[in-house]
Amino acid sequence: MALFQIAEPGEARTKEACATAAVGIDLGTTNSLVAVVRPDPETGAGKPRALPVDEGSTLLPSVVAYTGDKTPVVGRAARRLAAEAPRDTIVSVKRFMGKTSADPETRRLSPYRFAEGESGTVRFEVRGRAVTPVEVSAEILRALKVRAGEQLGMEVRQAVVTVPAYFDDAQRQATKEAGRLAGIDVLRLLNEPTAAALAYGLDKRSQGTFAVYDLGGGTFDISILKLVEGVFEVKAVGGDSALGGDDFDRALAESLLAGLQAERTPRLVREAIDSAKAAKEALTSRDSVEVSLGGRTRTLTRAQLEEVILPLIERTGPPSRRALKDAGIPGGKGLAGVILVGGSTRVPAVRAYVRELFGLPPLADIDPDEVVALGAAVQADLLTAEKPQHDVLLLDVAPLSLGLETMGGLVEKLIQRNTTIPTSATQEFTTFADAQTGMDIHVLQGERELVQDNRSLARFRLSGIPQLPAGLARVAVTFQVDADGILSVTAREQLTGVSQSITVKPSAGLTDEEIERMLLASIEHAEEDVQARLLIDARVEAQRILKAAEQQIESNGDLLAPEERQAIEAAMQALRDSAAGKDHRAVQDAIERLDHVSAEFAQRVMDRGIERALKGHSVAEFDKGEMSPHAQKAYSALGGDTIKMVSPSGKDD
C-alpha cells in the first residue's frame, strides 16, 4: 500500500487526459511564440495565454546558431552568438521558406554561405554542413515544443501553426514540413490575420466586418473578415510579402550612413542597422533620441524618422484598398473596426496612417506581438478538445489565384484569389496535335497573365491519352484546395479514364529523398526528445504524489510518530528537489524512497478509513464533504448506501 494509491476518484484519469497538449504556434520572422488554452480549474472557462519560453519572455527570437554541438542553440542565446559567428547563426529564416536559390531576393537578404540543393532549394552552409530553411525552422519549432512541454508539464504533440495570409503554396508546404521534422502533428496552417481576429472576436463578442492590418518584421498582410454569430468569414486578403519593420530599419540606416563619410564595411552597416532599430523603437514613446554611429553622435527626431519611413508605410495603401474592394466594401464603408497586429504597428506614424486609410481609430487592446499565437491556441483547442472553449468557426480563403499554363505561355485561372476554401474547380483541355498521347500540366499561382510572372508550383505529365485527331481527346484537370490552403491536382482523360494525380509538391520544395534524409537526421534529436518526455512524465507523477502525501499528513498526521513524520517529510523534500532538476531517473528514485518510508503510514490511514466507514457517517456529513477523501472512498467501496440507512445521524468524533 502506498500513499499515492489512495487517490481521489478520477484523478488518474485526469492525468491521462492531460498527458499531451495542443498548442498554437506563431512561427514569426523575428520572434516565435507558443500559446495554449487551458480551462480554469475553478470556472471551467478557458482563455488562451502565451507561455514564457525564453529567459522568462514569451518571445523566442527566431534565431538558430549552429555551434558544432549536436543540438543548435535557439533564441536569445543564439542571438548573442550572432555577432561572433554571423554565418553560422541563421536569422529571419522565414524569409527563405519555400524559396529557391535562384530567387533574386534570396541573395540580397543575407550574409550566409549557400550550398546548391538537389532541387534548387536554398541551403545554408553552417559548420561544414548544409541545412535547409525547413530544417532551421524545425529547430525553432522543436525548441518551442520542448520548452512549452516543460512549462505545461506535459508533452506537446499537436499544434496549429500560423503563416502569413500571403504565403504561397510552396511556403505553406515548407512550413508543414518543418512541423513534421520537429515531431509536431500540424493540425492546421492558419493565416496570421485570421488568428488575430479570432483572438479579438472572442474577447469582444463583436459582430461586423473588420480589417486586420498586420505589419511584422518582414511581411505586410491585410485581411477583411466578417464576423457573424461565431462564424468568421474571410472576405479578402492581400499584402506585400517583402515589406516590414526591417525595411524601416534599413531605410533609416541608409540615411544615417549617408551622413557619414566613412567607408561602408559590413561591420559598420550592421551597426547602422542595429542603431536604426533601437532609435525607431525609442521614438515610439519619445520625440527625439541620440544616435551614435561611427564615432559620431547626432540627434534624431520622430519627424525625421517619419520622413524616411513614410514612403514605405504608404506602400500598405494599395493592397489595403484592393482588399476592401474585393470584400465588396470599397473605401472601407461600414467597417466595424481595424485590428493591429505585428510589432511594427507600434510605430506612431503607422497608426496615424491606418486611421487615415480606414477612417477609424485602430484597435490594439491585445499585445500585437502575442495576438496571433493566442488566436492559434484557440483554433488548436477548437480542433482537439472534446468540448472546445468557444463555439466559433473559421471560413478562410485561397490567398492567390491558381491556374494552368495554356498555349502561348498564358495562364488560365481555375481558382480565383479570395475564394472560400475548401474549394475545387475543373477545366477541360484538348490535344492540339493529331495522335498526341501526352499532355504537360504546369500549375501556377499568382495574379498575372503571363506564365513567367507567376509562381510555378508543379509540372507533371499525363500520358496514355488515346491516339486521336487533334482536338478530340478531352482532358479534365481538377484543382482541389483543402482547408489548409494546400492544393492537389488531378488530370483525367475522359474517354479512357487514364488519370494522374498529385498533391502539389512545390518546385521550390524538397524531393522525397531530401525529406527522408532530413527525417533520418532528426533521429539524432530523437534521444533528446525521449529524455525530455520521460522527465515531464516523472515530474507530473511527482507532483501528484506530493499533493496526495500533503493531504494525508494534514488529515491523518496524528497517526504518525514524530520521527516517522520527519522521515516522510525529508523524503518529500528530496522528491521536490529532484523534480526541479533535469534527471528523470533521480525523480523516479525519489518517488520510490518516499513510497518506501510512507508505506506503513498509508496502511494505518487505510485502516482508519475503513474503521470509520464501518462505524457509519451521516448522509449530511458525506454530502458536505466532511469525511476525509480516503474515508469517502472506503465508505463507498463498502457500500455506503446501506450503512447510511443503518445509522442516518451517527457521528463518532
Partner: protein, 213 residues
C-alpha cells in the same frame, strides 16, 4: 466502395441524395453523384429561382458551414473527414454562385440547358456583329480618355457603361422572374449575360486605373 446515395452509410436510414446530413443519425453523407449541371440551389436547400433573399441565403450558408466544415470533423474518421471536405467544397461553390446575381442567372440558364457566350471556349451563341463593333469602339474611347481626357472623362465613360449594365440586369431579372420564360427570352437573357461580362471587364479596367492612383 460503392456508396448507395439513397441510404445512410452509417445507420442505413433512407435519405435524399442531395441531403448532406442523414436525417436519422445526423452523420455527414457522401456528395451526390456528379452530373453535367449540378443543382446548386439544392445544395443550399433553397427554391430554384432568380428571386432570392440574399440575407437568408447567407444565414443558410453559415448554418450549413457550421455543420459540414472540416474543422468540425478534425477528430472524426477519415471517411467522415473526406465527406466533410467534399460537402463543404460543394457548399462553398454553390454559395459563391448563388449570392452573385449574374452567376445566379447564368446557373439558372445552365439548368435550363442554355449556354452563355464566352462561358467556355466553343460553347454558347456568337455575339451579334453590331455589339462587337460597339465594344471595340468603347475600348478605343476609354484608351483615348485615359491618355488625354483625364479622370473626369474616364469617370463619364464608366458612368455610361454602368447605366447599360443596370439596364441589362433589370431585363434579365424580368425575364427570369417569369414562371416559364420562352426560348426567345432565354436566348436574349444569355446574350445579355454575355454583355454583362464585357461591361464588368470594362469597369474593372477603369477601376484598376483608380487603384493605381
Amino acid at each position: 466502395m460503392p456508396e448507395s446515395p439513397k441510404a445512410c452509410w452509417s445507420c442505413g436510414a433512407s435519405r435524399a441524395s442531395t441531403g448532406a446530413l442523414c436525417p436519422a443519425c445526423g452523420k455527414v453523407q457522401p456528395p451526390p453523384p456528379p452530373q453535367d449541371v449540378p443543382d446548386k440551389f439544392a445544395v443550399l436547400g433553397v427554391p430554384r429561382s432568380y428571386e432570392l433573399d440574399e440575407g437568408g441565403l447567407e444565414e443558410t450558408f453559415r448554418a450549413l458551414s457550421r455543420k459540414l466544415h472540416p474543422d468540425r470533423f478534425a477528430r472524426a474518421t477519415p471517411r467522415e473527414r473526406r465527406f466533410s471536405l467534399e460537402q463543404t467544397t460543394l457548399l462553398n461553390d454553390a454559395y459563391r454562385t448563388l449570392r452573385d446575381p449574374v452567376k445566379r442567372a447564368e446557373h439558372l440558364l445552365a439548368l435550363l440547358g442554355v449556354k452563355v457566350a464566352g462561358e467556355e471556349r466553343g460553347g454558347g451563341a456568337a455575339m451579334p456583329q453590331e455589339f462587337l463593333e460597339q465594344a471595340l469602339e468603347d475600348r478605343e474611347k476609354l484608351l483615348e480618355a485615359k491618355m488625354e481626357g483625364g479622370p473626369e472623362a474616364v469617370a463619364r465613360l464608366a458612368e455610361g457603361v454602368r447605366g447599360k449594365r443596370q439596364e441589362a440586369m433589370e431585363e434579365i431579372a424580368r425575364a427570369l422572374r417569369q414562371a416559364r420564360p420562352t426560348d426567345a427570352q432565354l436566348r436574349r437573357t444569355a446574350e445579355l449575360l454575355a454583355r454583362l461580362r464585357y461591361y464588368s471587364r470594362y469597369l474593372d479596367e477603369v477601376e484598376g486605373r483608380a487603384a493605381e492612383i
